[in-house]
């Protein structure tokens, strides 16, 4: 009588496990795929070695001695000049020397602590808001932060209050100016956008007409025409002899109105997504128009539109670079300005690459954040 004796299981063939399987299914599943893999490897070979050579291996890092929070870090005997940097690689000492310009523009060097404080406050804001998420009075805390943060920041940066000397807006520049324009643009345009969205959804025909015309007009034309309008035509609309409105303020008005139209469309999308029953229930319990919107409709509509609001803010952040066309010295404009310095002629590429890296890091993290928000709100809707 034969007995069934179990044999040891054979190991799977090497081509069916681990890295080999992964390579086979993901890179070499067919002849076409193998060809594509080879082509992409060749593309990477074309792009990366020269790029890395330029950025690192052939680049000059002769910063001289850097004082980093009290630590002396010695890169080289002396800081490299434009000439001994050479042309084969990047000349990072140029960026190091102009870093101040890229960050603060012409802001007085003795007053740097003021924008620095604002930067720190901004960072703190992003830490505090998630922290108070479960706090009882979180709405009050967040609301007061949203109201006080811009005021404090504005007073700190522009001065004219107590010990703070006035720093004229034409001295603001670089990353500081970029952040000022973006945050003022967003903060100012948001309430206008809400009003416009409500106006466009309103039953009052004239209000609806005005809102619609404004939104559609602004969205149809490029931002640059609006910036030109703000910078050339707006002063003509003011009372003759009134020169109180400076270049930055004009640009901010243009950007805020422009962004308001885009916010309005985003929020309108949220308003339309609220079920009709919500409006009717609010009417039924006798809420006024203001109460209905402030307590029932807007909280829901805004929550739905948060991912799109963030997306629209990202677009605004990208669009802030356009202010260089009307002569404001934002971060991108600094490239042209600092390479016009006879000492650093012809270093535009380094400048553009540096600004690209800074901008990309900020925009990429913002877009990641908006993706995360979208995901979070999506799951909440499913439950």
């Amino acid at each position: 009588m034969s007995v069934f004796d179990q044999q040891a299981t054979r190991k799977p063939p090497i081509s069916q496990i681990g890295a080999v399987l992964w390579l086979k299914t993901n890179l070499f599943s067919s002849w076409v795929n193998t060809g594509l893999t080879a082509a992409s490897l060749y593309l990477l070979y074309l792009i990366f070695p020269p790029l890395l050579d330029w950025m690192f291996f052939n680049a000059s890092f002769s910063f001289g001695t850097i004082n980093f929070f009290g630590f002396e870090i010695k890169f080289s005997e002396e800081m490299a000049t434009n000439k001994n940097c050479g042309r084969v690689g990047a000349c990072w000492p140029y960026i190091y020397e102009k870093l101040y310009m890229y960050t603060y523009g012409f802001y007085p060097r003795t007053e740097t602590w003021r924008p620095n404080t604002v930067f720190a406050l901004t960072a703190l804001l992003f830490v505090i808001i998630p922290l108070v998420k479960n706090y009882k009075y979180k709405n009050r805390v967040i609301l007061s932060l949203i109201i006080f943060y811009p005021i404090v920041s504005f007073v700190l940066i522009s001065g004219g209050f107590g010990v703070l000397t006035v720093v004229e807006t034409h001295l603001w520049g670089g990353l500081l100016l970029t952040l000022v324009i973006a945050s003022v643009g967003i903060i100012v345009s948001f309430p206008i956008g809400v009003l416009l969205a409500l106006g466009r959804q309103s039953e009052l025909r004239i209000i609806k007409l005005f809102s619609t015309i404004f939104i559609e007009f602004v969205r149809a034309v490029p931002l640059i025409t609006i910036l030109f309008m703000a910078s050339f035509v707006l002063p003509l609309f003011l009372e003759p002899g009134n020169n109180s409105i400076d270049k930055l303020l004009r640009a901010l008005i243009g950007i805020a109105l422009f962004q308001a139209a885009y916010f309005a469309e985003v929020i309108r999308g949220g308003l339309q997504a609220i079920p009709r029953g919500q409006y009717e229930a609010a009417d039924a319990i006798g809420l006024s128009y203001f109460q209905k919107n402030a307590l029932i409709v807007l909280p829901q509509a805004l929550k739905i539109s948060i991912p799109n609001i963030v997306g629209s803010s990202i677009s605004l952040f990208k669009d802030t670079t356009l202010v260089l066309i009307i002569g404001l010295m934002d971060m991108l404009a600094m490239v042209g300005l600092t390479t016009a310095d006879p000492y650093w002629l012809g270093r535009e590429t380094e400048g553009y690459v540096f600004v690209t890296i800074v901008m990309w890091v900020m925009l990429y993290s913002m877009s990641r954040y908006s993706k995360k928000l979208e995901l979070r709100f999506n799951t909440e809707n499913q439950n």
């Binding site: 893999t37 992409s40 590429t349 990429y364």
Partner: protein, 406 residues
């Protein structure tokens, strides 16, 4: 409905007009708020326009559109617009407007084509089951989407001017086209007598091919017999003009660019400003188009592909007949919106001096004449019309593509 009922109750209970009644009457309130808004807007306009005229008078700025007839007096970078309008510095300002308009439309046209091609490739690559291709496409999207387009325009232009070779060391493509820091040199077509017939035959070929295709499609629908038409259509569209061209004895010659002592001579030059602008706009816009294409393809239910396979369609047929028609329904509206964005973004050319509407007309002419209201008004009107045309197109496409209920 509700309002009418409430109002009728209101009216039946309190006959006669008292103030309190009026205060809580919906219609009265609506009228009041609208009247107030209307008055405020009118007052704002009135005071702004009043100030405008006063300011214009004080500063000695002209008004009206007579400046359009004045001599422009400046050179414009030679590009298509110049040749079409036949622009010289002696031309009036109105010509500058036309030159700018044409250049805007030209860059938008080529930008739209290029961005669609890149976007399609990247969007499909993003969904490839090849790991490397899909990640590269993802990297492309994340990289170029998160850099302001103005920065990209400046970057490519700077690279073009600084990193591309001098004319002497041009990149040469079989001595037919040359690329150097002064632009792309291409053979210039010179149509001779009789070339019009070649163009006509091309047109006839296209029309005939369209009708043949239509005829066989109808036949397919009626009888179920499928006829492959691509050989007829290629013969008509390509073969017919070619035959006419050869019969007439090649009535189209090419003027090739030749390397002179310092520079390339002859041929047709495409200025670096245009190349950098079209490239930057396309690369940037393509990231959005790629995302639209990807979400369109992903929106097609997996069951559709399985059903297509189950009824025996080949992968190509399944893609052509089942997946793409449904994917495009989702992908095309956002893509058309991106075309509008690209056209609007072309106005950023003013930073590199490509002579489109906002840089030649809204820039140089504005600086010379100073009539900001008229000039910017005209420029905005152009963009308004463009965006109106594109939204009409979008509505038409949406209507055409809407799922037809039966």
């Amino acid at each position: 409905m509700k309002k009418i009922i409430l109002d009728s109750i209101d009216k039946s209970q309190h006959r006669g007009l008292n103030f309190r009644n009026l205060l809580y009457n919906n219609e009265a309130r609506a009228f009041f708020f609208q009247a107030v808004t209307f008055l405020i807007v009118i007052a704002l306009f009135y005071s702004a326009i009043g100030n405008l005229f006063e300011n214009i008078e004080q500063r000695g700025i002209q008004t009206g559109f007579s400046f359009l007839k004045n001599r422009a007096g400046f050179d414009i970078l030679p590009f298509l617009g110049n040749y079409v309008v036949d622009y010289t510095p002696e031309s009036p300002n109105l010509s500058v407007f036309y030159v700018g308009l044409i250049n805007t439309l030209v860059v938008a046209f080529f930008g739209i084509i290029l961005s669609t091609v890149i976007g399609l490739l990247i969007g499909i690559a993003r969904l490839s089951n090849n790991y490397l291709i899909s990640k590269l496409a993802g990297g492309y999207i994340e990289l170029f989407r998160n850099i302001p387009v103005l920065l990209q325009i400046l970057f490519w232009y700077n690279l073009f001017i600084n990193a591309f070779p001098h004319p002497k060391q041009s990149f040469s493509f079989f001595d037919i086209a040359f690329l150097n820091q002064r632009g792309l040199y291409m053979p210039k077509p010179i149509p001779e007598e009789g070339f019009i017939f070649v163009a006509l035959s091309l047109l006839i070929g296209i029309i005939a091919a369209y009708f043949i295709k239509k005829f066989y499609k109808k036949k397919h629908e009626l009888t179920g017999i499928h006829t492959s038409t691509w050989s007829y259509t290629t013969a008509l569209v390509l073969g017919l003009p070619l035959i006419v061209y050869l019969i007439l004895g090649s009535p189209l010659q090419f003027d090739l660019a030749v390397l002179g002592k310092f520079n390339l001579k002859g041929g047709m030059t495409i200025v670096p400003e245009f190349l950098a602008l079209a490239f930057a706009l396309s690369v940037y816009t393509a990231t959005y188009i790629a995302e639209a294409i990807r979400s369109g393809i992903e929106a097609v239910d997996k069951g559709q592909k399985e059903a297509a396979a189950a009824i025996g369609l080949s992968p190509v047929q399944s893609l052509k007949l089942i997946v793409l028609p449904q994917a495009l329904r989702v992908a095309i509206p956002p893509t058309i919106n991106q075309y509008l964005n690209l056209t609007k973004n072309s106005s950023l050319a003013t930073v590199i001096g490509y002579p489109e509407l906002m840089s030649s007309f809204g820039g140089t002419v504005l600086n010379q004449v100073g009539q900001a209201v008229e000039i910017l008004g005209m420029a905005m009107l152009v963009y308004l019309v463009i965006s109106l045309v594109i939204s009409l197109l979008l509505n038409y496409v949406n209507k055409k593509m809407a799922i037809q209920g039966r």
